[in-house]
């Protein structure tokens, strides 16, 4: 894991001093709220319905036990004892006092965490594959590049007042777990025919009001050019992106209105000024940063542990958990363990301070001290030995972290919604809870199998509803909360935007609506066909007809 050197530490410390002074000037009345707002949001501080919310950046979703313990401490000391892990691999604290924020940042800086650029019209936290470095299907570890870009984008003087927010994701595996196609820039690490490493560059993807799949503007960008090429993209966007209409300001609108070919041409022209210049990444720097992401001291282990197999045969609950929450690791005898933050009765993605401490403890004892945050809002222990799986399961279960539902219907991606968020049109957490209660039968849940249910409380799409196999969007109709349902969205290598099935529903109808969608799937599916494949095969019509009670 990356560790700050004196430069990183200095820049974060100076940022806190700057922000502390800005808060003081705001409280003294020397800064208006309008002037202060962009400054505080670029320090991760939003004004929400009930209080300030602090969004702490978790660069590319990587934590260690010390960082996680500090987050637990922050939750206890400055919040109400919990935090919310977001779809951008960050954590949000919902009950923050403005004058506490600089002290919180000081505490975070002591363990190498910050909230820099976690909000605002700037380059946001760079996200990546939650299984980077351990995934069985990894081609190249994306973390060094993510860290290099984190540093490049931190306080980039030219790109702090962009037309709108800007999100970059990097994937280095066969399976795209970083949702690159719906990011402002989506990078995929690839080899060319000669075996050199580079990036396939997508731009202009996004969700929100206008969901668009990104366009590839370069099939192969050799790795040394990654910063200069991205700088060229940002400079074109900063100058030509629309600023007259907040809903037309993302880069996706610029790319679409120019056409991706013309946009790519503009980027090439700009890049000609920068290519091979001092911003070109050096082998030395790549090696230096890569040195922070070396593999831990893995033991040579047998691929199978007899005792675990014995438990698997005799303990159905454990077997269910193994099946859903344990993922393949590239090293024999090791496993990637997903700790579910989707327990019935708890808002998706929320973790209590005690849970965070428990995960930190498990990480220290079973997983080289490392923890990941997934964009599906769960936590991950990356390196668990076979022989420790049963202990990890028991401990996770004791802490409410072993719900065996990863990838299943109740592993709902969900934004904070109208319970917290000032932007939301509708609540999302109670809908997630109602659906979770309806599908509380584990056998039924496992029989339904893999399905992504994503929900957002408004069109900003923090819950990624467009790419959910089932997507739920909270809408406001004359002051009351309604829910629009879409079908057929997907993330990963076959990213697709879902289609709306028809008029929206009241909150209390939602469990029935989901149930009816599932009924059609169970009736129509072939063999092991997943929900999404049935939807792709049949289209949305049979689902729509059943939900709205149209006779077949």
């Amino acid at each position: 894991m990356y560790r700050y050197d004196q430069y990183d530490q200095t820049i974060v410390d100076e940022r806190i001093a700057q922000f502390r002074d800005q808060v003081r000037r705001r409280l003294d009345g020397d800064l208006t709220e309008e002037e202060f707002r962009p400054l505080r949001v670029q320090n991760g501080l939003y004004l929400q319905l009930h209080a300030y919310m602090l969004r702490v950046a978790i660069p590319y979703g990587l934590l260690d036990s010390a960082k996680l313990r500090k987050l637990a401490h922050i939750a206890r000391t400055y919040d109400r004892g919990y935090g919310h892990f977001s779809t951008r691999q960050n954590i949000q604290f919902n009950w923050v006092k403005l004058d506490d924020a600089p002290d919180m940042l000081d505490e975070l800086a002591a363990v190498g965490l910050h909230s820099i650029q976690s909000a605002g019209n700037c380059i946001r936290n760079i996200t990546s594959d939650q299984y980077a470095g351990v995934a069985a299907d990894e081609v190249i570890d994306p973390r060094p590049y993510a860290e290099i870009l984190r540093q490049w984008s931190t306080f980039h003087p030219e790109f702090a007042y962009l037309p709108r927010k800007f999100k970059i994701a990097i994937n280095g595996a066969v399976d795209d777990r970083a949702v690159t196609a719906v990011h402002d820039i989506g990078l995929t690490v690839v080899h060319n025919e000669a075996g050199d490493i580079g990036f396939r560059v997508m731009v202009g993807g996004g969700l929100g009001r206008t969901p668009i799949i990104g366009s590839v503007i370069r099939d192969f960008l050799p790795w040394p050019h990654v910063m200069t090429y991205i700088e060229a993209i940002l400079r074109v966007y900063n100058q030509y992106g629309r600023r007259d209409n907040i809903y037309r300001a993302r880069i996706k609108i610029l790319v679409r209105s120019l056409g991706s070919d013309v946009f790519a041409q503009k980027v090439e022209e700009e890049w000609a000024h920068l290519k091979d210049g001092p911003g070109t990444l050096t082998k030395e720097e790549l090696l230096r940063v890569s040195g922070y992401f070396t593999a831990p001291a893995y033991e040579t282990l047998p691929a199978v542990d007899a005792e675990v197999e014995n438990h698997r045969q005799t303990n159905k609950a454990f077997a269910n958990w193994l099946k859903r929450n344990v993922k393949p690791h590239r090293v024999p005898g090791y496993n990637v363990v997903v700790l579910s933050l989707k327990k019935p009765g708890v808002p998706p993605g929320d973790a209590s301070a005690d849970q965070m401490d428990a995960v930190a403890g498990m990480a220290d004892r079973f997983s080289f001290g490392e923890v990941r945050v997934t964009h599906e809002q769960n936590l991950v222990l990356t390196d668990v030995r076979n022989q420790d799986l049963y202990d990890v399961w028991q401990e996770a279960r004791a802490n409410g972290l072993a719900t065996p539902n990863i990838g299943l219907l109740t592993d709902i991606i969900c934004c904070p919604g109208g319970d917290y968020c000032a932007l939301a049109n509708a609540k999302s957490i109670p809908i997630a809870q109602a659906v979770t209660e309806r599908f509380d039968n584990l056998d039924y849940l496992h029989d339904i199998g893999e399905i992504d249910l994503n929900m957002s409380g408004c069109i900003n799409a923090c819950g990624h509803h467009h790419v959910g196999n089932i997507g739920i969007l909270g809408v406001d109709k004359e002051g009351s909360e309604w829910y629009q349902v879409s079908l057929g969205g997907s993330q990963g290598n076959e990213t697709a935007i879902g289609k709306v099935i028809g008029p929206s529903f009241a909150a209390d109808q939602m469990p029935d609506v989901i149930e009816r969608l599932i009924e059609v799937y169970l009736r129509e599916r072939n063999d092991d066909e997943r929900f999404i494949d049935t939807v792709r095969r049949l289209g949305i019509e049979p689902f729509r007809d059943h939900v709205y009670g149209i006779p077949a």
């Binding site: 700050y4 100076e14 490049w152 306080f155 007042y161 400079r235």
Partner: protein
């Protein structure tokens, strides 16, 4: 009459007149006073024949105007100013960088408009060397904004070499 601006990291008296015609005025009919005047780009373009006779002249660009066509005449201007209609309109940063880095402008580059303390550090980085802070704010206070940070990761106009090429970065002792 002079006003104060920040130039080369110090508060100095400034005797340039910034000409901001009322919107809707035809550029060719704008009267340009004698002396040191910073005229809008459009006025320069409309009255180039007479204005280029002057020994001292400056121009200012709106945030949606492009500097590329000025490339051959940049050396005529003692001052180029870039307007920030709102501090959150960040086009001026790229405009400044383009003027300096791509077009080679070497004269005074001045930020005008909604220029506030908390944006000055970034403005200085992309190539501005003069700032006319909003007159309702303390210029002494604004000056402090230029020294918010001592470390810069990435290159820009002020620092041509990124941190990773400038230093031998070693891990802080754990």
């Amino acid at each position: 009459m002079t006003t104060q601006i920040i130039k080369n990291k110090a508060i100095v008296e400034d005797d340039w007149l910034l000409l901001r015609p009322e919107s809707g005025t035809a550029p060719e009919s704008v009267a340009v006073p004698e002396g040191k005047v910073i005229v809008p780009l459009k006025v320069w373009q409309a009255q180039k024949e007479s204005l280029q006779q002057r020994k001292t002249i400056g121009i200012w660009l709106a945030s949606d105007e492009r500097p590329e066509e000025l490339k051959t005449e940049l050396s005529r201007f003692q001052v180029i100013a870039v307007d920030f209609p709102r501090f959150a309109d960040g086009r001026g940063y790229s405009l400044a960088f383009t003027l300096r880095n791509h077009l080679g402008y070497a004269g005074e580059l001045r930020a005008i408009g909604d220029v506030l303390r908390d944006q000055l550090f970034y403005m200085q980085r992309v190539g501005f060397d003069a700032f006319a802070p909003r007159p309702d704010r303390s210029i002494e206070d604004a000056l402090k904004g230029l020294s918010d940070f001592s470390v810069k990761y990435q290159a820009s106009w002020d620092e041509k070499i990124p941190l990773f090429r400038r230093t031998n970065r070693k891990e802080k002792t754990a």
